[in-house]
Amino acid sequence: MALIKVDDLTLSYENIMVIKDLSFKVESGDYLCIVGENGSGKSTLVKGLLSLKKPESGTIEFGEGLRKNEIGYLPQQTSAQKSFPASVYEVVISGCLNSRGIRPFYSSREKKIALDNIERLGITDLKNRSYRDLSGGQQQRVLLARALCATKKLLLLDEPVTGLDPIITAEFYELISKINKEGITVIMVTHDISAALKYANRVLCMREEGWFFGGIDEFKKSDFANLAKGGGKDV
């Protein structure tokens, strides 16, 4: 059984159907990029995958013991967050909340998970710094460490490089790629089609007139890739 199996999924946003009869699968170890124009339903699909939105019809099934609250989600940053007074450690360990039920305090095991993920992302020296004093790239690393605390299997990244400069963006992509090679499945929503082609092994391309799902090579041959490149549009 695949890690995630989506069958004939239909989702609406404010009573307008934005996704119709969508089907795709994510296998363990995949790096799936979801690309598409603004308004093509990417954000709605993310909400669906996170079980924050009920499907009108169709199903989203999780396999291999993945529980629906065990997705390492990296949301788009809000402006309020950028100036938030919180230490890096406080932010990262808050990713462990889903495994804790109603117990009020963090256990030593959770503290270790947080510290391990801080080290894994190379931000150990920032551990006691305030989140609001960090650069955009450093903030994304902190949020990624938090997401890794919430999951052992799957990362879901929603346009993670928005607002980062090209060098930091490239570093961030390398980091995601490394995490993927360490065995964590990655789903990334992105506008950046060239990054999708470079790092992903599967692509889900969403357009108003329909969708494409398949491997990178198939995608390159399909009309969807041509439209994406030729149109010069925000894809």
Binding site: L52, T78, P85, A86, S94, Y106, S130
Partner: protein
């Protein structure tokens, strides 16, 4: 100094005001950290106006003020929370709409009831003698609930304040917490309003959190600092009010302004050094 304390402690109504004030300052500061960081601070302001309207109508109709004001303000808190989160009307406009509306209705109610002698001034700017015994009981219960919540659900409050989308995605009961915060804020405002005045009560929610954020860098230190700053400002304000015979609410706001200026300066200096 000690004489002033001795004098205050010899008058029962002042002791009551002191107890209620300290507890309300504590609750307002703790809830305020979350409200300010979530960009919900104007909700506090809106609710205090609704509280004024409710109190005015209760007095005119000869009903128990708390029994009317608490449910009305709680209902308004839930309504504002819904309006700001689903975005049908822009949050700030919705708050302005509701707060000016409630203020208008309150003033109309008082003006039309010619037989009733209502001191609008004490509703708007607070009065120390209006604190009743039942206010003391309610504020003790309120403070116990707020403290319990901040100790035992602190990690969840942090997660939801910092990032609602992430908290939702990892199975946090975000709506329950938001409603809990709105409910407790509503009660804090209604109780604190009689002492501070409906025009000034929201300062207790906003000032301590903003002052603390100038200097402190982690959520825990901001939260603790807010609670301390708020209670200390209240006590100093109350002493000033007694010594200079100035209104209690306004005196406390002025102490809070001084605190903010102090924290602002410390923040500037420490950032320059860093």
């Amino acid at each position: 100094m000690f004489e002033i304390f001795a004098e205050i402690f010899s008058v029962p109504v002042l002791v009551r005001a002191l107890i209620v004030g300290i507890l309300v300052s504590l609750c307002a500061a703790l809830l305020g950290v979350s409200l300010v960081l979530k960009r919900f601070s104007m909700i506090g302001d809106g609710l205090s106006h609704v509280g004024f309207g409710a109190l005015a109508i209760a007095t005119v109709m000869n009903l128990a003020p708390m029994a009317v004001a608490i449910p009305v303000v709680i209902a308004a808190a839930f309504l504002l929370l819904r309006l700001t989160s689903n975005g049908k009307i822009k949050g700030d406009a919705a708050i302005a709409l509701i707060s000016t509306g409630a203020l208008g209705i309150g003033v109309m109610a008082v003006s039309l009831s010619s037989g009733v002698n209502v001191d609008i001034n004490s509703y708007l700017f607070g009065s120390i003698i209006s604190v009743s015994k039942s206010d003391v009981v309610i504020s003790v219960i309120l403070a116990l609930i707020v403290l319990f919540m901040f100790v035992f659900f602190y990690t969840k409050i942090f997660a939801i304040t910092f990032d609602e989308s992430f908290a939702k995605a990892t199975g946090g009961a975000v709506n329950v917490y938001n409603m809990m915060i709105a409910l407790l804020t509503a009660i804090t405002i209604v109780i604190g309003m009689r002492l501070m005045g409906s025009m000034l009560i929201s300062s207790l929610i906003i000032f301590p959190a903003l002052s603390s954020m100038r200097v402190f860098k982690s959520f825990l230190s901001v939260t603790i600092s807010s609670a301390v700053v708020s209670v200390v400002s209240f006590i100093i304000g109350m002493i000033i009010s007694y010594a200079l015979d100035t209104p209690c609410g306004a005196s406390i706001v002025c102490v809070n302004i001084a605190m903010f200026a102090g924290f602002f300066a410390v923040g500037l200096v420490s950032r320059k050094r860093a």
